[in-house]
């Protein structure tokens, strides 16, 4: 162990987490839980941008990057939706209300919401991809007068994996908002859309020979499409949008990547000359095209 002098460093240490208390825990699906945590006064983000993430730390276990589903400035709480996939997330799932989580952040660039003002938003989510998009949805409802219409297209593998069921019921009731869900394959008792979410995009937007996006007129450029999901999914959507000659500065994608430090130092999320944790995880389609091909 190294000796430790008493003089603290004058620079803030970005590797050391602060602790936030869990105020609410809820089960979304069999493997997904949501946690609402309250930020201590000194750690309220100056300017939270939807799409950003925090590094959640459990001392003794490890650290994982998790997107923020919602930041509520009225009570300084963050909402995280976490899927149980590995060692750390499994441990997080055992936590109760009143327990603490270590946090570092917010990191990442987030969606450029100021560029979406006055435009219609189309959010396309594959599975757990709806989690970061929810922060966009919440921001939309807080400032609805600044934006056009909102369309949410959500694809889940099966009906068991649909998250935010209660919230979606609320969203459908809001004005200027539509919400469509699809599952991959037919299921007993399901009478909604079936098929990949990219087909939902096609069916709604690409197949019709009339105006493709009913509130889009390509010359006016007043729609923005945000896509979060596995690469296979967004690649397929981008291919179709490309055929439609949809402008590539109006489509945004969130890239998932293996991250460790969250601050652009450890090199794990390095992608060409960009660090997904700093220059991303949100990239516009024209930026995505310049990123190295391995991604």
């Amino acid at each position: 162990m190294e000796k430790n002098k008493k003089t603290p460093s004058s620079t803030h240490n970005p590797y050391v987490p602060f602790f936030a208390q869990i105020r609410e825990v809820g089960q979304q699906t069999a493997t997904v839980k949501h946690f609402r945590v309250e930020l201590p006064k000194g750690n309220v983000p100056k300017n939270f941008i939807p799409g950003q993430f925090y590094q959640i730390s459990l001392p003794g276990v490890g650290e994982v990057p998790i997107s923020v589903s919602d930041y509520d400035p009225t009570n300084n709480t963050l909402l995280f939706c976490i899927a149980k996939t590995g060692v750390v997330t499994t441990q997080i799932h055992t936590l109760q209300k009143g327990d603490y989580l270590g946090l570092r952040g917010p990191y990442g660039n987030g969606f450029p919401m100021e560029q979406f003002q006055g435009k219609h938003l189309v959010l396309v989510a594959g599975g757990i991809g709806l989690v970061p998009l929810r922060s966009v949805i919440e921001d939309y409802f807080r400032h609805q007068d600044q934006y056009g219409e909102l369309e949410i297209l959500f694809g889940a593998r099966n009906s068991q994996e649909i998250i935010y069921r209660e919230e979606m019921k609320q969203w459908r009731l809001m004005k200027n908002t539509t919400c469509k869900i699809t599952i991959d394959k037919h299921e007993k008792g399901w009478d909604g859309n079936v098929g990949f979410v990219c087909n939902l995009v096609d069916k709604t937007y690409c197949d019709c020979s009339e105006v493709l996006f009913h509130h889009l007129s390509p010359e006016k450029n007043n729609t923005v499409i945000l896509i979060v999901g596995p690469p296979v999914m967004f690649q397929s959507i981008l291919d179709n949008l490309s055929k439609m000659q949809f402008p590539d500065d109006s489509v945004y994608v969130s890239l998932e990547n293996h991250m460790k430090c969250g601050i652009g130092k450890c090199g794990h999320c390095n992608c060409g000359s960009k660090y997904v944790c700093q220059d991303g995880p949100i990239f516009s389609w024209n930026e995505l095209k310049t990123l190295v091909k391995e991604y």
């Binding site: 162990m1 002098k5 620079t11 050391v16 650290e63 293996h258 652009g264 130092k265 390095n270």
Partner: protein
């Protein structure tokens, strides 16, 4: 300010500066190789000769470093104690290729979110450079536009002639150190002005080859899709020995370790982009799953991505990658092929 130190006063000089902090210098080890190590016996210090295989980066960025210790209380909240290293140290005998590497690393760790651990060590470290007179056939610093006598971020720059050493003092830290050994040093007259340029000319003439990378700086991305990478990756065994000895490789991995059920630490260790698991996603997808991808990543990062990020090559031509490689891959061959592809288009 420039000073002279007589040849036979070197040991006395080292003994004096050792009082100011932990002295790290190239020392002769049991296996006859020289390595940067904390000096125990002054007589073991061997400043002259070729650059040691292991770079001095580990004294600013250790292979394994505890970042903080924690004591877990009830409900999972933990009290955290940072473990910053603030002991003074002096590193001597650093060749300009390593000085260049250290200044790149400092710049890298100072962007946006500053890496406090390294910057804190840096604050308490005095760097004494050494003008290089014995390059190996694997050295290629001149290809990157550097010279074997650049003082870069050194606090003091040393050079040797037959009768004496000269010490060029470059920073306040260097001046403070030199003042503690005042009596051993003499002033250096104007006649000494030519020493370092002469060493530069002589050493540069000994460097095997110069590949002009400066003329293609910023354009190397056009080599991304070429067949160069497969040519070398067929041979490469992705061991990562090159990255461990490379003075500009800065990647690391973090992990937690519990000593008891309540006390533990978060530590970091060097990690290598040549490892399969480096970019392995939780979903099982791996964007750099083949050795070709990983070799390309390493070389492109050194010669292009770091140029896009910081405007600097992150290779300094020290040649340690070539020296460490168990299958004899020569970095100079790779950059020659890159130059060929970029200058003339794909073959």
């Amino acid at each position: 300010m420039r000073k002279r130190l007589k040849i036979n006063n070197l040991h006395a000089f080292l003994q004096e500066i050792q009082k100011q902090g932990s002295l790290i210098a190239p020392v002769k080890t049991n296996t006859e190789e020289r390595e940067f190590m904390p000096v125990e016996k002054i007589s073991q210090v061997a400043l002259e000769g070729s650059n040691p295989l292991r770079s001095p980066k580990e004294y600013l960025f250790p292979q394994m470093e505890t970042m903080y210790q924690y004591h877990i209380q009830k409900e999972g909240k933990a009290t955290i104690k940072e473990t910053l290293h603030q002991e003074p140290q002096i590193i001597i005998g650093i060749r300009p290729c390593d000085l260049h590497a250290l200044s790149y690393a400092k710049e890298f760790y100072s962007t946006t979110h500053k890496d406090v651990y390294i910057l804190e060590r840096w604050k308490h470290t005095t760097l004494i450079g050494w003008a290089c007179q014995t390059p190996l056939n694997t050295c290629f610093c001149t290809s990157l536009g550097d010279s074997p006598v650049d003082s870069k971020c050194a606090d003091i720059m040393m050079a040797k002639t037959d009768q004496f050493y000269i010490l060029e003092v470059l920073t306040a830290k260097g001046k403070d150190l030199v003042e503690t050994v005042g009596s051993l040093l003499e002033d250096s007259p104007d006649a000494d002005d030519d020493i370092i340029p002469t060493i530069r000319r002589q050493t540069e003439a000994m460097i095997r080859e110069k590949v002009d990378l400066l003329s293609i700086k910023g354009r190397i991305d056009s080599a991304y899709s070429s067949s160069i990478w497969k040519k070398y990756s067929d041979t490469c065994i992705a061991c990562g020995a090159c990255t461990f000895n490379c003075p500009t490789c800065t990647c690391f991995d973090t992990a937690d370790q519990l000593e008891t059920c309540q006390d533990g630490c978060r530590y970091r260790t060097w990690d290598t982009c040549q490892n399969y698991a480096f970019t392995l996603h939780a979903s099982g997808h791996n964007p750099r799953g083949t050795r070709e991808d990983r070799l390309r990543q390493r070389v492109m990062h050194k010669y292009h991505y770091s140029v896009e990020q910081l405007g600097l090559f992150s290779c300094t031509g020290c040649g340690r990658c070539t020296r460490s490689c168990p299958v004899n891959i020569d970095m100079v061959s790779i950059i020659k092929d890159i130059k060929e592809v970029v200058s003339h288009g794909e073959e």
